[in-house]
Every structure is written in structure tokens, then in C-alpha cells.
């Protein structure tokens, strides 16, 4: 590197070998897709910087900065908590911690899915200007939403402290749940990102689907309220995924059945995402 520095005042570009072929065999398609993933992960530093800039830009010029997120979540949870506790005739002391946790976690899932649609279309300028692993954009989106989630965690902590709720050591069982979420979030980005780049009318459809899912999933209501119909919940992928993180944070151990369902749904999602990504990876630049 020292020699290079002396040789030129300018910065040297990274050496690389690029070898691209048309009429890809399936195996070559898989190999290139896998390389996209590993290259994208290698650029995690860039993905984090971009994600952090996204958040800073969104709140640049405001006094509270990203803590606007925290404040707006706090106001929503507080007002909805009191309202629904009255409507559903529930004790605020039980209901509000549940709602605060559910609402924050759901907001993460829903935002992740809806922003996944614009994962590639939003980065159009970058994708068309330089060769860059597409996976980078998925990582950027995930990091950005994790940062938003981190700001909202303050609301959960405040509510827990106020109502003296302590989930105990079971809370650590949420960690594998979060790991599953991370993988799924990246898979959703690749799947919906590519799909929405090709078909532009999907974005509003996804919005509607997430709205329906919000009402059908026990986010603001509790599964016990369904009574005997609660068995139907296992057909709702959002329920299983939500529960593997939420239950431990409420101090329960999620049943093995829920975990199994969550893992199965995740495998289906990742499989579909991979199959599409292998086919679409080289075409996304043309679709933008």
C-alpha cells in the first residue's frame, strides 16, 4: 500500500476481476446470487452508514431528531392503551405493557415489509451508476429499521418500569426470535424488492395486505379473547413470527408448536425469495 501511495497522489480503486456471461446455467445463477450475498455482507460498514444517514436525513433540522419516533410511539401507545382498555373492558395494568410491546414490534414488521417494496426502486440511481451487490440495499433497509426499533424500545422500557413488569430471564429467549426476524427481513427485501421493481402495481396491494394482517393478528387484542377459535391463529404466519419474540418479552416461553410454525414459514419465505432472486438478480438493473 505504501508503494501505491507514493506512486500516486490519488486514491487507487480496488482491484477486481469481473466475469459475466449471458445464457447463465442454473448453477451459475445460484453461484452469482450467492456471491451477491457475500459481497453485500462484506460491505456492511457502508450499509450501516447509509442506514444511519437515512435516519439522520429524515429528522435533520428537528430538535428531537430520531427521538420524534420515540415520542410519537409513546403518544400512540398511551392513548390507544387507555382507549382499548376501556373498549375491551380490560385492566390497564395488564393491557398497556402488552400493547406497548406488540405495537412496537408490529411497527417494525409492517414497516419492514412495506419498505421492502421500494428496496431496489429507491436505490435506482446507485444501481444504475455502479456495480454493487443488490443485497447491500437489503442490509441497509434492515439496519435502518433496527435503528428505528431501537429508538422505540425506550417506550417499552418506560411502560415496563411504570407498571413494574419484569419478564425475567425468559426474555433472552427472544434473541433467537430476533435472529429469525433478521433473516426473514432480508428475504422479504430481496423478494418484494425484485417483484415490485418488475411490477409497479404491487406496492399498494402489499399496503392493503399488511393492513388486513394487522387486524387479523393479535396485536391490539390478545389471543385468549378468541376463545376456542384461537386454533385458527396457527395459519397466520404473522402470529407465529410475532409470538416467538413477544412471548419471551412478556415472560412466557413460546410453545414448541409456535416455534415450529415460525421456522416453517421462514423456510418457505426464504426459499421463495432465493428462487426469485436467482432469476431476477441480473435483470433488476433493466427494470429500474
Amino acid at each position: 500500500m505504501n508503494q501505491a501511495m507514493q506512486a500516486s497522489m490519488n486514491t487507487l480503486a480496488r482491484a477486481s476481476v469481473l466475469d459475466l456471461e449471458g445464457d447463465l446455467s442454473l448453477a451459475a445463477g445460484h453461484r452469482l446470487a450467492l456471491r451477491d450475498l457475500t459481497d453485500g455482507l462484506r460491505l456492511w460498514h457502508l450499509a450501516c452508514t447509509l442506514a444511519w444517514l437515512d435516519i439522520r436525513l429524515r429528522y435533520r433540522g428537528s430538535i428531537l431528531g430520531p427521538f420524534w419516533l420515540t415520542l410519537s410511539t409513546a403518544i400512540m401507545v398511551g392513548s390507544l392503551g387507555v382507549l382499548y382498555a376501556t373498549l375491551f373492558h380490560m385492566d390497564v395494568h395488564d393491557y398497556l405493557p402488552f400493547l406497548a410491546l406488540s405495537q412496537v414490534l408490529w411497527a417494525f414488521l409492517a414497516t419492514m415489509v412495506s419498505e421492502a417494496c421500494t428496496c431496489f426502486t429507491q436505490a435506482e440511481g446507485m444501481i444504475r451508476a455502479v456495480r454493487m451487490p443488490l443485497f447491500l440495499h437489503a442490509v441497509r433497509l434492515l439496519v435502518r429499521n433496527v435503528l428505528v426499533l431501537a429508538h422505540n424500545v425506550a417506550v417499552i422500557v418506560a411502560v415496563y418500569i411504570y407498571f413494574e413488569v419484569w419478564p425475567g430471564w425468559h426474555a433472552f429467549l427472544a434473541l433467537p426470535g430476533f435472529a429469525v426476524w433478521g433473516v426473514d427481513a432480508l428475504a422479504v427485501c430481496l423478494l418484494l424488492g425484485a417483484f415490485c421493481a418488475r411490477f409497479r402495481d404491487i406496492v399498494p396491494i402489499i399496503g392493503s395486505v399488511m393492513m388486513i394482517a394487522f387486524f387479523l393478528t393479535p396485536v391490539i387484542w390478545q389471543p385468549e379473547q378468541l376463545g376456542r377459535n384461537a386454533v385458527m391463529l396457527k395459519y397466520n404466519p404473522f402470529y407465529a413470527l410475532l409470538e416467538i419474540v413477544r412471548a419471551p418479552l412478556l415472560g412466557h416461553v413460546p410453545p414448541a408448536e409456535t416455534w415450529l410454525a415460525a421456522v416453517l414459514y421462514s423456510i418457505v419465505l426464504c426459499g421463495a425469495s432465493w428462487a426469485l432472486f436467482v432469476r431476477a438478480r441480473g435483470r433488476v438493473a433493466f427494470w429500474l
Binding site: M9, T11, A13, V17, L18, L20, T49, V130, D201
Partner: protein
Amino acid sequence: MNHDARITVAGVSVFFPLYHGNSRSLKKTVMAAASGRLGQDRQSRVVVQALRDISFSLGSGDRLGLIGGNGAGKTTLLRTIAGIYEPVMGRVRVQGSLNALLDTSLGMNIECTGRENIMMRGLYGGLSRPELHRLEEDVAEFAGLGDFIDLPMRTYSSGMQVRLGFAMATAIRPQILLMDEWFLAGDADFLERARKRLEDMVRGAEILVLSTHQTFVVQEWCTRALWLDQGRIREDGAPGDVLASYLGHPLQPKEAVAI
């Protein structure tokens, strides 16, 4: 980095699917499939054959000028060599570090400060921290923005934006330099300094691929010219010969006509 730079393009074709109106819509596609028209739709899908069966190879020391009318495929060919578009047929092999000056707005976000934009550009290039620091100094000095470097880019005049974009794009020195013609445009005051920097960079690169309408640039800078016409190679050879047939008359010495 000790390897010699090399570009091999063999039988490359790039087709652009033309998606407009109906084919952009999932609903219409599903309806067409349901009524058994998808197969037909696939076959009759409108594609633009942006590049057709292009073959050439370049080694260290080659300076290639791409000429041809609008829509001849010059920019598509540059993008294909840069790996942004992947070939539908054929093979592209590029060995060596590459910098493509296709778009000054690369990675620039007008809401970010100049300094943040420089940092992002460096991260795109995979630079280490000391390298990032050096890049920042180099760009800040050349662009001459003064205190504006720490203000959001939307407060910049358009001239300042161009200066910053140019300084960033030319700060990273590659073995292979791909350049689109607009890079040669600019206002007179800045152009003098810009030209010097660009010429240093061109001289420093092992391989140059340049797309331009200006014949004097090809004459001055290139050792080989490729005339593209509707995505095909019309002529490939020494700049003087190719330019003569492109223009339809023999070149006068030092002819400097912008076409």
C-alpha cells in the same frame, strides 16, 4: 493489482425489455395468463436490442473511443463493461480495478453535506479509513468549496455541485477508466483545471474507454476507435480511418468539429 488490466468482450448482446403500460402491471399479466395469452405475450414482448454480437478485446495501453449517433449503444456498452448491465448472450471479462465516470450524481444525496457525500463515495469504493481521509482532503481541495463542504448540498450552486461531483469521480484512480462524453463538458473557468486533472487520470489509466460525439477528442486521446450503429459494430480500427468513414470524408489535420 500487479496483473495487467484486460477487457474481453465476446459475442455480447444486451436486450432491454420495454416495459410500459400493461406489462408493468401484475394484474394485467395475471389476466393475460388466465386467458391463455401469456405465452404469446412472452414471444411478442417488445425488446430493444441495445447491443448485438459485440466482440473486441483491449489490453494494457489501449485507448478506445466509441463513436456513433444517439442510441447507437455507446452508454449501454460502457454500462455492460462496468458490470451494471449483465449480458443476455456472450461474455464480458474485465480484469483490473475499474472506475466508470457515467454519472456525477453517483451516490450523491443533495440533503447530505459535501463531506458526507465524499465519505459515502469512498465507502462505495471500499476504501479504508486512512484512504477515506485522504480522499476527503483531495476532493475538498480540488472542488474548492471552502466552508460549504459542511453544508447540505442543496445549498450549493449548480456550479459547485458539478465541481464536487467531478472532483469525487476523478479522485479514485483506476486501471480501467470508462468515461461518458458529458464528462468533457463544463464551464470554461473550471474546465481548465478539470481538463488537467482528467488528462492526468487518463494518462494514469492502463485502459481507457471513452464514449463521445466529439471527433477531436477521439483523435487526441484514442489509439483505436469503434463505430457503433444500432447496437452493432460498424467499423473497428485506427481512429483516423474510422472517423473518416464515420464523417464521410477524409479527416483534415487537426479537425475539431463537434458533431
